[in-house]
């Protein structure tokens, strides 16, 4: 079949325009990802990463529970690993209070392991806390972070219906707690506990499903993500405050204020109004499509050795080759904020589970895990990677802040002419209602109308929305035409702002 000349010309023109757009923008490599070499045959099982004050890097391996240690080397293939401690079960959190002394959370307890005779290997293992139940379900794993007062916060994951419980449990067994997809059959599953320096373990906050990683930021705020699933339609990011309930009902059976004859799952399945009244909303909600499984949040050092995001929090994806970045602010006395992808691919592997920044703040060490054994990881999969800033800073929104009528966007560099166009800032909004079902889709989706764009400074833009409302998640997708004044494209064009509250005018 013959195509007419006009059609061919049009196609040619279209191709030229498309090629022109892509040739004009650049995406330089700002961060470099390197694989850290481990001894051969080591499966990717990283359950904890921490530095001691001398700069030695400790890595806890989840399943069989070795803790390896090495002095970081400029060459990622030259780490000389040795074993510091062994014998932990599901080691999924490590803190190194001083060289030669580690604190590990394992399935059964928080354990301190000390090298008392200074031969480089721990010889004294002491139980710091074990005051929670174990049903025998494989899913009951934990996370650990210092509380800033000489003690620790311990996050206790729930059990999964994909595994059984044991005939003999450690701790009281609750039939109400046992019900549902993810459940809390034994005490304090689905809670964050505080372990005081006096050794006392007290319940701190409830309603978690699988809080796989905790962060205490440099202003003593406690943060965690949670795994999307039943009662968790998104990947949430929580500012954890004492006494609050964060939405997964099963854990309530261990709340002394919850009536003993009341099934929390049945209660809230029927009554979402009471449920919504009781729960504390996430500071940020991240659609599951964007982050599958949030793992350990980590704060970027403020010395900006890792780029212009000092003080912000990164959230790795335990499932996919992604690291998210959170931009938080206090509105009406509570934290809320925005999310975008910091990195996707670029050599980064999937299964990003635990992370730590090197003491100089230049390198992010990110450890990878795979299932409960070593499933899920292709042969030769990386165990740990190092991410370093190699050049400049990416062009992106460094700070997304809410205003009474929309958002103020502070870019890392001046925007191009398209930055002044309304068409560069398409915004949608949506809500997510947690339910007993697994996950959940966005509801009440709306296309928002951007009524004004104002370039305040070359790299600061304010956008105004028509009928701007609280209680919604706003998705901003920067149009392709918007690049930096030097034609650099952002690593991710999507930004999600969780507007729990609007600032007062």
């Amino acid at each position: 079949m013959k195509r007419n000349r006009a059609g061919r010309l049009l196609a040619l023109l279209f191709a030229l325009v498309v090629a022109g757009i892509f040739a004009a923008t650049i995406t330089p490599e700002h961060y470099k990802v390197e694989d850290i070499a481990f001894p051969p045959n080591m499966p990717p099982q990283v359950g904890g990463v921490a530095f001691d004050r001398d700069g030695a890097l400790y890595v806890a391996m989840r399943m069989r529970g070795e803790v390896l240690v090495a002095q970081p080397h400029a060459d990622p293939k030259q780490f000389k690993w040795r074993v510091f401690a062994t014998g932990f079960d599901n080691a999924l959190g490590i803190v190194v209070p001083e060289p030669g002394r580690i604190v590990v959370v394992q399935m059964a307890e928080v354990t301190e392991a000390i090298d008392t005779d200074h031969d480089g290997v721990a010889d004294k293992y002491r139980t710091l806390a074990n005051g929670w139940g174990m049903s025998g379900n494989y899913h009951e794993t934990n996370a650990l972070v210092p509380d800033g007062k000489g003690g620790y916060f311990v996050a206790l994951g729930t059990a999964s219906y994909q595994g059984p419980t044991f005939v003999h449990t450690r701790g009281e067994y609750s039939a109400f707690g046992r019900r549902g997809r993810n459940y809390s059959a034994v005490p304090y599953r689905g809670w964050v506990m505080q372990l005081g320096r006096d050794g006392l373990l007290t319940p701190y906050a409830s309603g978690f499903r699988m809080p796989n990683g905790l962060l205490l930021d440099d202003e003593n705020n406690l943060w965690s993500s949670d795994n999307q699933g039943d009662w968790k339609p998104t990947t949430p990011f929580y500012h954890i405050q004492p006494g609050k309930f964060y939405g997964h009902p099963s854990s309530l059976v261990w709340d002394k204020n919850w009536p003993a004859d009341k099934d929390p799952l049945a209660t809230f399945r029927q009554d979402l109004t009471s449920y919504n009244a009781l729960r504390t909303r996430p500071a940020v909600e991240i659609p599951w499509e964007i982050i599958h499984s949030g793992s350990q949040p980590i704060q970027i050092p403020r010395n900006n050795a890792f780029g212009p995001f000092g003080g912000q929090i990164l959230l790795p994806d335990d499932s996919r080759a992604k690291i998210g970045r959170l931009m938080l602010e206090k509105v009406g006395g509570q934290y809320q904020g925005a999310f975008t992808l910091f990195m996707e691919g670029q050599g980064l592997q999937t299964r990003n589970n635990r992370a730590a920044f090197s003491p100089d703040g230049k390198s992010l060490y990110i450890g990878q895990v795979s299932g409960r054994g070593w499933g899920g990881a292709p042969p030769g999969a990386s165990i740990m990677q190092r991410v370093r800033l190699v050049k400049g800073a990416p062009f992106t929104i460094a700070k997304m802040e809410i205003t009474p009528t929309g958002f103020r966007l502070t870019f890392t560099a001046p925007v191009n002419a398209a930055g002044a166009e309304i068409s560069s800032y398409p915004v949608q909004s949506m809500i997510y209602q947690p339910r007993w079902t697994y996950g959940g889709a966005a509801e009440d989706k709306r296309d928002e109308t951007v009524t004004a764009v104002k370039v305040i400074e070359p790299s600061v833009v304010e956008i105004t929305l028509d009928a701007f409302r609280a209680g919604r998640i706003y998705r901003l997708r920067l149009a392709d035409a918007l690049v930096s004044a030097t034609n650099e494209a952002p690593p991710d064009r999507e930004f999600f702002y969780t507007a729990n509250q609007l600032p007062s005018r």
Binding site: M42, M63, R82, V83, T86, Q162, T437
Partner: protein, 376 residues
């Protein structure tokens, strides 16, 4: 590929720690790592040695301990089966399985293995001739570490020689330490690599050390602070006790046990002569397929296999493909070849080391999944 298989085979046969003949390295340093730069992690039948006992915390089996031994545990009981799709309880029930949640296993080599429980604060059982088969929990090189769903408690290997019964056999001033209140596990020391368990019974801190002591026997050493008169009750007339030393706060004795049972580890999927749905179900369980591909029809990390066969599947790139034997086989061997819409690539590992009969059995089983299996 054959080199890789050979390497894995070597690792599976090889031992986690040095064998007794090789273990001349300094006691405290697990030198196997530096020695050959190799890390025999894929060994799911690890073994310690007399010089370097292997301390392993994991779920542990219950080889028929009597109820009285679990005095400080609580009972789990059957629960309603639950449909995450419907969000309701189902007619079926889920039975609890046998296992010990918070104990510590130690392998002193083929001469002795023990389980010390942190909840009961005592030795629960001892065996000889092997340690644990961790296949149901850790999987192996072929299953890439998938656990056996609903049945992941590791299994014993060897001859059971001692099983605890009734109250704690250690007595302080003539009374069982069980009468001093709930035991508080405090941790353990590695003294020249030998674990010494620490448990508080009332005001007493009791240290317990174990050692191999020949056929059917092991040596037990107790030390108590503050010092008090220690004695040990024989728990069975099938055991013989030989006391070596008793001073205030000290007691050392040999327990000669009896042959109480033989254990051979976890029973693997049979060597197939013919493909079958039953073998496919067993493989499905061994490989942990159901942890991502539910049998109850629910969406998980992967699509459910219930009612999948014969349907048209839309792929990530928008094309459609019919779910037939060839598609299933390709998806098992090379999961990234065709990703169904709504799922992420690089989540499922390739399973390309199975035999043809095993693949056929898996496909037969998936084909047989017409209705959701509600009661797990």
């Amino acid at each position: 590929m054959s080199l890789r298989i050979a390497a894995i085979a070597f690792l599976l046969v090889g031992r986690f720690c040095l064998s007794a003949a090789e273990s001349t390295a300094p006691a405290a340093a697990p030198s196997w790592l530096d020695r050959d730069k190799s890390y025999p992690y894929l060994d799911n039948r690890p073994l310690g040695s007399r010089e370097q006992p292997l301390v392993l915390r994991t779920f542990l089996p219950n080889p028929g301990l009597e109820e009285a031994v679990f005095a400080n545990h609580r009972l789990g009981f059957k629960a309603f089966a639950y449909s995450p799709e419907k969000g309701v309880d189902l007619a079926g029930t889920v039975m609890p399985i046998d296992g010990i949640p918070a104990a510590i296993a130690v392998s002193y080599g083929a001469d002795l293995s023990i389980v010390f429980d942190t909840t009961e604060g005592r030795l629960l059982y001892a065996w000889q001739g092997g340690f644990l088969d961790l296949f149901p929990y850790w999987g192996d090189a072929v299953t890439r570490g998938a656990m056996v769903q609903m049945d992941y408690v590791p299994r014993l290997i060897g001859t059971l020689i001692y099983r605890a019964s009734q109250a704690h056999p250690l007595e302080i001033d003539g009374r069982s330490v069980s009468e001093l209140g709930a035991p508080q596990f405090a941790g353990y020391d590695l003294v020249k690599s030998q674990p010494v368990f620490l448990v508080r019974h009332g005001k007493f801190l009791v240290r317990t050390t174990l050692q191999p002591a020949g056929p059917l026997a092991f040596r037990l050493t107790f030390a108590t602070e503050p010092p008090a008169r220690l004695s040990y009750r024989n728990e069975s007339n099938r055991y013989t006790l030989t006391q070596h030393q008793a001073a205030a706060g000290q007691l050392s004795l040999t327990v000669k046990g009896a042959s109480l049972g033989e254990y051979k580890g976890y029973e693997r999927a049979p060597d197939l002569k013919v493909a079958s749905i039953a073998a496919g179900r067993q493989l499905y369980q061994n490989f942990g397929c159901a942890s991502c591909h539910n049998l109850n029809g629910a969406k998980s990390n992967g699509p459910t296999h219930v009612g999948l066969f014969g349907r048209e599947q839309t792929l990530l790139d928008g094309t459609k493909v019919k779910v037939d034997e060839a598609y299933l086989l390709e998806s098992i061997k090379n999961p990234n070849a065709k990703i169904p819409l709504g799922y992420a690539p690089n989540v499922m590992p390739p399973y390309n080391q199975l035999s043809d009969l095993q693949y056929q059995s898996l496909i037969l089983f998936i084909k047989s999944l017409l209705q959701p299996e509600e009661a797990l």
